[in-house]
């Protein structure tokens, strides 16, 4: 079969990093190719080269029989390549319809934008992507999952032969994920060539026909999914066997450390009551947008609740700002790494020590040696990959940035740590490392709240689980009684089958 698009000998360097070296890849019509690799393996870089956002240093792209050059995203779209990118790249202030058609809006005979046709076309595309949305509302009024559907509709709006999806399910909830799978099937049936990037092995085995594995910017293997096992893929990807991804230790659970009672907020959540005990990992499950992050952020003083009380070690605590939370020993590892977590313009060591400056400094004056020591201690434990501790965090891959962010809050030596989607978008090796560390912390007597939308992670790591739905607690489960079905039902508000 002739490939729809083929890459030959592609290399791409960034200052200090060779992101891709001599990579070749072919995508075939009517077939789904899964691209897997650790964080920073170069997957998204390849996507960006395919869509004209980056230019390769070396190598050729050919579409059909012809060599192609994609100097801009528009050129790639014209050549029939479309992508759903890892980050949602949309415009909050523009309408849904315009987000879908920006850059290729239908025109009337004077060459002016034809708003009527644009809205009608958008409506059609949205329903194809499985979203019944009013195309004229502004994007910012949508939830994150809906936004992602708009991104999918946008990708569909380009009549492409090649469709690329870079971790498309990371921000979607259960229901939408299944609709996405159906969409992939339909595209496949239409004879499109599909490149599917994911860290979730279950979905790879479910929808992919072929696989390609990247490691450190090179291609290490490719073949048919049918010929390979999950363990084999993991070994190819990481270069070694990964033991357990969920290395949960059995810990003797102690007395209550954190007690939350009657927490409420006028618009976001209400009636939140629970206890967190020493050595416990308390999972918070829910669909994306259930209000977990909002609640956690009010716990550390980013937003103010309208009522409720918090006790830490039995003492009533009033927290008005994150700095007070950190001093009290409650830390929050935020979900949005780019916006709330990493300070990408500062070096690694300064990121790590930022919340702990009072410990590394003397009477307000910086002590660099202490900072480097602290940063080294925690980054090494999380197996960070970097050229130096003085490197800007922005130059690290997503997964490595996440490690810096986690290291930063662990370095404050908290009593309670809240991790919001701690392994979102990070590869299986790093995930195992984060989980192992989490488990070790619990064993040392730290109390952990882990917010996650991934059922395997919740089930693998939690001692207890609280499920939230639309701002309220919708269920509580002990580890022993956990099943995936119970979690999904509670989160979606479906009554127990009688």
């Amino acid at each position: 079969m002739k490939p729809a698009i083929a890459l030959e000998g592609i290399s791409k360097s960034f200052p200090g990093v060779k992101a891709l070296s001599d990579v070749s890849l072919a995508l075939y019509p009517g077939s789904v190719t899964a691209l897997i690799g650790e964080n920073g393996a170069g997957k998204s870089t390849l996507v960006k080269i395919l869509t004209g956002i980056y230019q390769p240093d070396e190598g050729t792209i050919s579409v059909g029989d012809q060599e192609a050059h994609f100097p801009t995203a528009l050129a790639a779209a014209r050549a029939g390549v479309t992508a759903i990118h890892q980050e949602t790249v949309l415009f909050d202030e523009l309408s849904v319809a315009e987000n879908i058609f920006l850059g290729h809006a239908p025109r009337n005979r004077f060459g002016l934008i034809d708003w009527k046709k644009l809205n009608a076309d958008a409506r059609a595309l949205l329903s194809r992507a499985g979203a019944d949305l009013d195309p004229t509302i502004r994007l910012r009024d949508l939830g994150i999952a809906k936004k992602h559907l708009v991104a999918i509709a946008r990708a569909l709006s380009i009549d492409a032969q090649v469709v690329i999806m870079d971790e498309p399910t990371a921000a979607l909830s259960h229901k939408e994920i299944h609709e996405l799978y159906a969409l992939v099937e339909r595209l496949k049936a239409d004879g499109k060539a599909i490149l599917f990037i994911s860290h979730k092995f279950d979905e790879i085995f479910r929808i992919a026909d072929r696989y390609t594995v990247f490691r450190d910017g090179t291609m290490v293997d490719e073949g048919l999914i049918a010929d390979v096992s999950q363990d084999e893929l993991v070994r190819l990807m990481v270069g070694r066997a990964v033991g357990s991804v969920y290395p949960k230790k059995d810990v003797a659970i102690g007395e209550p450390v954190l007690t939350v009672s009657g927490y409420r907020h006028p618009t976001e959540f209400e009636d939140i009551n629970f206890e967190l005990r020493r050595g416990e990992i308390l999972g918070f499950y829910g669909l994306v947008g259930a209000g977990r992050s909002e609640f956690m952020q009010s716990l550390i003083g980013v937003t103010r609740p309208s009522a409720g009380a918090v006790r830490l070690d039995g003492e009533v605590l009033v927290i008005r700002s994150p700095s007070e939370a950190i001093r009290a020993g409650i830390v929050y590892v935020p979900e949005e790494r780019g916006r709330q977590g990493a300070i990408i313009g500062l070096p690694i060591f300064q990121n790590v020590t930022l919340p702990s400056l009072s410990r590394t400094s003397r009477s307000g004056f910086l002590k660099l040696a202490n900072e480097f020591a602290l940063a080294r201690e925690y980054t090494t434990r999380l197996d960070l990959r970097a050229a130096s501790l003085d490197q800007d965090v922005g130059t690290l891959s997503g997964g490595n940035q996440q490690k810096v962010v986690i290291a930063k809050w662990l370095a404050t030596k908290p009593k309670v740590i809240i991790l919001d989607e701690p392994t979102k978008g990070i590869d299986i090796g790093s995930k195992a490392a984060v989980h192992a560390f989490m488990s070790e912390l619990a064993a040392q007597g730290l109390s952990v709240i882990m917010v996650s939308s991934e059922i395997p992670e919740i089930m693998g790591m939690s001692d207890r689980v609280i499920v939230m739905r639309e701002g309220r607690i919708a269920g509580r489960f002990e580890r022993a009684e956990l099943t995936a079905e119970k979690l999904v039902r509670a989160a979606a508000g479906i009554q127990e089958a009688a």
Binding site: T72, E93, G289
Partner: protein, 326 residues
Amino acid sequence: MMANILRNRELLLVGAIAVLLALITWRFPPFVAPANLGRVYNDTSILIILALGQMAVILTRCIDLSMAANLALSGMVAAMLNAAFPGLPIPLIILAAVALGTLLGMINGALVWKLDIPPIVVTLGTLTIYRGLIFLLSGGKWINAHQMSDAFKALPRDELFGFPVLSWLSLVMIALVFLLMSRTALGRAFYAVGGNPHAAVYTGIDVGRTRFSAYCISGALAGLSGYLWVSRYAVAYVDIAAGFELDIIAACVIGGISIAGGIGTVAGAVLGALFLGVIKNALPVINISPFAQLAISGMVIIVAVAVNARAERRKGRVILRKAEAV
């Protein structure tokens, strides 16, 4: 789209202007005579044209501090052309001013686009350079009314259907910019680039080129205003419109154009400029000490941003169903 055009911010401004007019009328009734309102509009025309250009730039998350200097330089060149060749047809002179203005805008745009220098730095630099060029070009000398031809001075004053050409010109510019913003790919690209420059790249929009175009537009409008200013006030010298860049930005801000880019409408820019224009014209006639003018415009700007920020404040996503119903 229609809903976007008249979001409540613009209505709010219309209301504010109405209240302002009512207050002025109470102190000085003749102010709201149609003829006088026409005169106020005419007097604000140049500010409106400039605010339209600044709006294009601000939408793309840039800023043009050099507009007033550009105006002065283009105006000076127009005046010098006229003084040196009194026979030169006026349309040609206008064309020259617009072309020069565009060129100066292109320089700003190119520096922002090709060298990635932050817009505020670029235009801070070119602001002094353009002013300096006027000095070098004119030797610091003034071009006075008697050195300008009558046709040169007459154009903005000539009346068409009872309104001066200057007013008509600004109306035409408003219409053109409105079409550009709402119905062309470039106009929408301004919003996209300012709203989320990163995403714009993924959409195939060339962020640099779009910003460059915005600067061309602001430059062209500044060039046009250069001629209008010089011919209307019948004088050209180094310092004309000095400090006017801040008025232009203030008009945009009052009109609800977000300094962070991506948000704003043509109606907002026009109303913002009119609001300032009414205040400027009214203070002298209602006998408020000329010394109080500055403080009053300062207060107005502060109140306007505070009000806009309130209107802008996200409602916050509502997760609780119950709350949503309220």
